[in-house]
Amino acid sequence: MWKTVVRRVLIMIPQLFVLSLIVFILAKFMPGDPFSGLITPETDPARIEELREKAGLNDPWYQQYARWIGNLVQGDLGKSYTFQRSVGDLIGEKALNTLWLSLVSVILLYLIAIPLGILAGRYNNSKLDKTIVLYSFISYAIPTFVLGLLFLYLFGYKLQWFPTVGSVSVGLDPGTFSWYIDKIYHLILPAFVFAVLGTTGVIQYLRSEIIDAKALDYVRTARSKGIPMRKVYSKHIFRNSLLPIAAFLGFTITGLLSGSVFIETIFGYPGMGQLFISSVLSRDYSVITALVMLFGFLALLGSLLSDIIMSIVDPRIRIE
């Protein structure tokens, strides 16, 4: 299996390379640059031009690209113009928040979706099933930001159950228990919205998988052994239907990552999505490119993760 992993990783390299080229060129084509934002009556346009020259923004794009990719290979993502610090550090901070968010979302998502999917599949065509299906349709149809805003308003502002800004309260020491609790407290609301929106796929998949599984031959075999229905469900139907879901974990996480652009914007949650939008607005090229690359990389990693999980959980792949 590790061979496949290595191969996949090798395939990732050209993919990331193409991605880097595309995003770099695009970023260069964006009108304006980070220095045009520095304009005030006190700043000297000549100085701005000088800085631009110093930053190499006046070089042809391919030279800039070569420089950038050269640094990138050495692990240097460049420097954010707006934040005046290494992109690596900057993103590192935000990435942690986004990963936390995705992680809690995934957990909530599975906590909500799996029982619902199982219930709908097991009792299909019942009232319960119909309700769950309706729920899943609605959660699919409702635009992210509408639900997000409603929840924010209701639970954040009106009921004040959850904080509405930031990722953690200031004044707590990072790493302490209360800091962790506070962090989770801050991301429960966005994570919940995120999770609710993501449930549709899992519910529908599980449901149809279970309905299909009920008619499968091996389930019939299991039933003919005279084991209780409960066991048939848990050991044969659910287990087999849940495996692909487990394997989708990687994809789910990357899906959530890209959805973070919305969620973080709505909830003012300081993660990579929010950073991306603000970098686009401030034309912070190095951050934009780094973020796109990172997301691409994470997506690749996600699919790799899925493959690995799949090959672990499915003996048909594990044992060739």
């Binding site: 595309i22 349709f137 699919y140 149809a141 805003l149 890209s258 796109v292 997301f295």
Partner: protein, 301 residues
């Protein structure tokens, strides 16, 4: 004694079981899907008619400061927004724009995806390999982000740019699906039969295989369509959607960003939000009905 021969139907001209009859039957059985379908058609017709023949866009988008956040009432059926512009009119035109984008994106990605998918699935080999690698690439790139970057790059940006950009990133899903279906379809013996009977590859692809995928294609396009309705609104919400002078559902819903508007001037955002919700639900229901029609296993008992 009862005759087993089915003489009486043998003269009747019928169609294959996956055809429109089944779809029709499925809709008759599922009233919700039927209602959804009818409403989609009516709403779309209404919206397009109103937007193209009745509503004067200039007049609609005219800022009228004194009507800022006017309540629903006689002057404005659904009230007015911050600029004192009629919400109802914007809803109609916005819906038209969203639908137009969704339809255009669906058609573009649909046609492209189907053609490429069929070719890959049928021929296999290196064409398939190359295109699958490209698709793998597309699947892993963060498309929302690239769409946003693209939109900021385009200097003079219109609805059509938006459509093309979204399409650029939207064709892979359908291509993959069509490819896998075409692949399994190409393994069926009727394709082999056609080959041995001297039929040209492209004729096989488009005249033999494609019609057999039609049901799955319909399902997929419908569901895609529902998804595409959402894309524009999402981008508009983030501020990367339609140009500001173009009414848009996303811009309307984005009013909810302001808690005060969310609470007090609900007529600004709620109709658009509801419209999106109901539209997507309806399309989804229709899609599900199509899916059941296409897949006997899921058919309603």
């Amino acid at each position: 004694m009862v005759s087993v021969t089915n003489d009486k139907d043998s003269n009747k001209v019928s169609s294959p079981p996956t055809g429109f009859q089944v779809i029709f039957r499925e809709f008759i059985k599922d009233k919700l899907a039927l209602v959804s379908l009818i409403s989609i058609v009516l709403v779309t017709a209404f919206v397009f008619y109103m937007a193209y023949f009745v509503i004067d866009l200039n007049e609609l988008m005219r800022v009228s400061l004194r009507d800022k956040f006017a309540e629903p009432g006689e002057k404005f059926i659904l009230g007015a927004d911050q600029g004192g512009r009629d919400i109802f009119g914007q809803l109609v035109v916005g819906a038209k724009n969203s639908l137009e984008i969704a339809i255009a994106v669906t058609v573009i990605t649909g046609i492209f995806g189907i053609v490429v998918g069929l070719i890959c699935g049928y021929f296999g080999g290196w064409i398939d390999n190359v295109i699958m690698r490209i698709i793998d690439f597309f699947i892993t790139i963060p498309s929302l982000m690239l769409i946003i970057v693209f939109i900021t790059v385009i200097p003079k940006y219109t609805q059509w740019h938006l459509i093309l950009i979204i399409s650029l990133f939207g064709w892979t899903g359908i291509t993959r699906l069509v490819r896998s279906k075409a692949l399994s379809e190409s393994k069926r013996d009727y394709v082999n039969a056609s080959k041995t009977l001297g039929t040209n590859d492209f004729v096989i692809i488009f005249r033999e295989i494609m019609p057999n995928l039609s049901s799955i294609l319909i399902v997929e396009t419908t569901l895609n369509f529902a998804g595409n309705v959402g894309i524009e609104t999402g981008l508009s919400y983030l501020g990367f959607g339609l140009p500001p002078d173009v009414p848009s559902l996303g811009n309307l819903v984005a009013y909810a960003n302001n808690p005060k508007v969310l609470q007090e001037y609900w007529w600004c955002w709620a109709p658009a939000a509801l419209f999106i919700l109901i539209m997507m639900l309806a399309i989804n229901y229709v899609g599900q009905a199509f899916r059941r029609a296409a897949d006997a296993k899921q058919r309603l008992g």
